[in-house]
Symmetry: C2
Subunit: 216 residues, 2 copies
Amino acid sequence: MSLVRVQNFAISLDGFGTGEGQTRKEPFGHAGERLHDWMFASQAGRRMLGQPGGTAGVDDAFTRLFAPGIGAEIMGAHKYGYPGWEKDPEYKGPWGPNPPFHTPVFILTHHTRPPIEMEGGTTYHFIDASPAEALAAARKAAGGKDIRIGGGPTMLREFIKAGLVDHIHVVVVPILLGRGVRLWDGLEGLEKNYQIESVSSPSGVTHMTFTCAAHH
Amino acid sequence: MSLVRVQNFAISLDGFGTGEGQTRKEPFGHAGERLHDWMFASQAGRRMLGQPGGTAGVDDAFTRLFAPGIGAEIMGAHKYGYPGWEKDPEYKGPWGPNPPFHTPVFILTHHTRPPIEMEGGTTYHFIDASPAEALAAARKAAGGKDIRIGGGPTMLREFIKAGLVDHIHVVVVPILLGRGVRLWDGLEGLEKNYQIESVSSPSGVTHMTFTCAAHH
């Protein structure tokens, strides 16, 4: 059975998965790129930017788990675009002509439109669906591979709350954002459903993995 | 100059320093003892309970830093007692006749009363004071040693916000309490004032130390 996975989802120490004031230029609002500095300092992260070098430790190891074995991603409308993207018929996401997904991507939105085929194997599908329905559609498209839940925090929280996520990799970044969208709200007792491991990196972040108890 | 320190202050992954529904029997409310299991599993923690054995790794190392070099503690009224303790003239705290502090302890309360001398060097002083005033009183009593800020989360947050704390040791416990009193509210950008280090323990908790940049 294919797994439903979250990879490299970064939150601040006070639990925010994105900052306040998201715009087209600042998709994470006042958080800027601070939630992802650890990733772009790694070898795999620098390669995404077309740059050499980078760290080769635990941050790099986790960053490399983003793509292997994944057959489709599901993301929320706030990850796909800035507030108001639904009104722009030409908008094709913030990742350029060759997005880093290279699989079908299902975007949860009340404003559906026809699929958009991008370079490199990414196709954007716009669906107005519940988490369980979206997962069924993604599973069909994933050819037996795993499904990645891409966030943002609101949709990720909904998938977790619905008990649909097998494996969660969360990265706690030692900054206090103070405002934005929290990941953990309303998830009391989540630890009962998962085996949790933590490992701190010399970069300062702490990687936490939640693995569904049923898979042990 | 003596330092103002926080030692072994535990929070849940979603940031709560205490649970909801605090009572005389459950000082941490619905959190129970779950925020402190890591401590009482260590050698130093088990010794506090009069029990042999325990872990001897990083959890034990941090637990042992509770007392050395400390000349006084400041704590909030909610740490000292259950809701309503102010109405009980015989109440002497939840730690029994020989409390684990062995120094003067300053309790911040609007309901002051004469000092109470306990066994083992602990004296409870009840003061109605601002964080800065309380710190001045504690410094006077500490004989040049460090001051420990004991919590709970509300008073700790006020001391941090006032810029009075040199060193913070926070322990992130991988449980989601969902409700209670948050530590980090209103502290956006705190990382600018501190050097932060993290280390995960095999027990599952992550120890974070915040050291005031001015001391580097």
